[in-house]
């Protein structure tokens, strides 16, 4: 696609449908949000205790043009002002991804705009650039229901994954423990709330793995929590949800914070950014702030509305591809297990 002239000043329309949010946003120069619309399906999935892929896909089709229209009208722009269409190509639920992808392709074709495929995690990282400019080298901790990763960036659009989870994602562990404690879906915020009401007095394990590893593992911790609840029930004891939540959260947070801190020193980074849904967790936010209080690195945690899935982050990440002239063609495919890499 060489036919498009890149401009220094540019406005990108982003679309995100990788899970259960139908989102469209318009962002200027990768930094300034002009419009940001998120339509959440969470109420519809609650009764199933988790996101049902087929139902998510059905809702995306119902919402997609409504959300695009709302973003365009919020922005008060017209199509001549939009320079490119960016869309999440993966990872995520394939049926859900396909809706955003085909809406993006249709908009690109009709309005003769370049199309940009964006990695969902790159989006989470770039949510931070909507708040303040990056300083490289940079370390990103990505923690969500699907991801737990440590990524080093030496320049825009270059990602070096130095650690990732070997089993459950952090957010997944939160949801599973919440289910064991009979907390409603999504469980993360409930664990966070209960944790604030108790001290972490149960000694659940910390999975440090090998000395030099930045990988994570949360399945052992999950099993410990199951065993603890099981044994307590066997003995006819009361399940103290607050105590379990606080102790579980303390274990997850300590590993996340320490590995992030160690990586920040080893790679001598300037910025540390936190991204993804679990970045909304108060326990994690305050422990990170405490740990990096007197350090060389600047810690950036985005505001809550930019931690959860949104399309402003997709447009912001798409902005880098736009500047680098990395465009996709109409055969761009949804890639449910796309890996983060420099391409």
């Amino acid at each position: 696609m060489g036919a498009f002239n890149m401009k220094k000043e540019h406005i990108i329309l982003g679309i995100e449908t990788s899970c259960d949010e139908t989102a469209v946003a318009i962002v200027k120069n990768g930094k300034e949000i002009i419009a940001n619309v998120v339509s959440s399906q969470i109420e519809s999935h609650k009764r199933f205790g988790g996101v049902v892929p087929e139902i998510a896909s059905r809702h995306h089709v119902e919402q997609i043009t409504v959300v695009i229209e709302e973003a365009m009208s919020q922005s008060k722009l017209s199509w001549v002002d939009i320079d490119a269409i960016a869309v999440t190509e993966g990872p995520g639920l394939v049926g859900a991804l396909l809706i955003g992808m085909h809406a993006a392709k249709a908009l690109a074709l009709v309005n003769n705009k370049p199309l940009i495929g964006v990695h969902h995690i790159a989006g989470h990282i770039y949510a931070n650039r909507l708040e303040s400019e990056f300083e490289f080298p940079l370390l990103a901790l990505i923690v969500s229901g699907g991801h737990t990763e440590l990524v080093i960036m030496k320049a825009h659009g270059e990602y070096d994954v130095i650690g990732s989870t070997r089993d459950d994602a952090a957010g997944e562990a939160f949801d599973k423990v919440a289910r064991m404690l009979n907390l409603p879906y999504p469980g993360g915020p409930h664990i966070d709330r209960l944790a604030s009401e108790s001290d972490a007095t149960i000694d659940f394990p910390r999975a440090w793995l090998e000395e030099d590893s930045y990988d994570f593992s949360f399945s052992g911790l999950k099993s410990s929590v199951i065993n603890y609840i099981h044994n307590a029930t066997q003995r006819g004891e009361d399940i103290q949800k607050e105590k379990i939540a606080a102790s579980f959260q303390a274990s997850v947070v300590e590993v996340l914070v320490e590995k992030t801190y160690k990586a920040a020193q080893e790679y001598n980074v300037k910025d540390v950014i936190v991204a993804g849904g679990v970045a909304a967790n108060n326990g994690l936010r305050s422990s990170l702030e405490e740990r990096f209080k007197n350090s060389e690195q600047k810690l950036h945690i985005p505001p809550l509305h930019l931690c959860t899935d949104n399309a402003a982050m997709i447009a912001a990440a798409g902005s880098i591809s736009y500047e680098q002239g990395k465009f996709a063609s109409m055969n761009l495919n949804a890639r449910p297990s796309l890996r983060l890499s420099s391409k």
Binding site: E54, T65, E69, V110, N331, A334
Partner: protein
């Protein structure tokens, strides 16, 4: 008036461009390859081949289902977004009615288009051509094939079966409907995207925002959930 017709309801992909009643371009492929990488390149290519800009399209007609859930969602999403962006009418067409169009030479006989819906079930309905109109006789549904054939058999009329999945059901059809069953020759068992456009002429435009695929089947999780609610009510 330039009409774009889209059928992505199975792995069979069909795109057609018409100027009023005249076909000016068709793109069809029947390979079992991911629909998602093929649909938009096909539309882009076809427009280019007939020297038409996307913004010269005046109306979009889309096969709204039944069919593969993912497939019909892709078609409907493309159609909705293009129709919205171009501010032009969008028309939904039953994939089964588009297939029934193939029975145009069997006037006054009952046309039975169907698609395999797995587990011995089909998506099907009954249609009839008369006075240049293709009308629905029995509504589209997702039904167990054996029950459906018995229902059709009691109509006491000749039945013209049309389906890309005919071979899987040919013996069942013969054993229940006997000599009532008529099987046209092979080329008539596919959904022609031109027929999608022509059936569209008989339908009214839809509201773009609220237009959704006609799945004719609940999501498994939803069905299970409703059953559980029912069970709870019974207790």
């Amino acid at each position: 008036m330039n009409i774009l017709a889209i059928n992505t309801s199975s792995y069979r992909l069909g795109i057609a461009l018409l100027k009023d009643d005249l076909t000016i371009g068709v793109h069809e492929t029947y390979v079992k390859v991911n629909q998602s990488t093929r649909a938009m390149p096909a539309i882009e290519r076809l427009l280019k081949d007939v020297h038409m800009n996307a913004n010269e399209i005046d109306q979009i007609v889309v096969a709204e289902g039944p069919g593969s859930f993912t497939g019909i969602r892709i078609g409907v999403t493309i159609a909705k977004t293009m129709a919205w962006a171009l501010n032009i009418p969008i028309i939904g067409v039953s994939t089964l009615q588009a297939l029934a169009y193939q029975g145009v030479s069997y006037e006054d006989k009952v046309l039975v288009p169907f698609f395999d819906a797995r587990r011995k079930r089909v998506y099907s309905g009954a249609y009839m051509w008369g006075n240049g109109e293709l009308t629905s006789v029995i509504k589209d549904k997702n039904v167990e094939m054996e029950l459906w054939l018995k229902e059709l058999q009691t109509l006491g009329q000749e039945l013209v079966f049309l389906s890309p999945d005919l071979e899987e059901f040919r013996l069942d059809i013969r054993s229940i409907c006997h000599e009532q069953a008529i099987f046209p020759s092979l080329p008539f068992h596919r959904v022609d995207p031109v027929h999608v456009a022509l059936v569209g002429k008989m339908n009214k435009p839809e509201q773009v925002h609220t237009f959704v695929p006609k799945y004719l089947r609940m999501a498994e999780a939803e069905k299970k959930w409703l059953e559980e609610q029912g069970a709870l009510l019974d207790e």
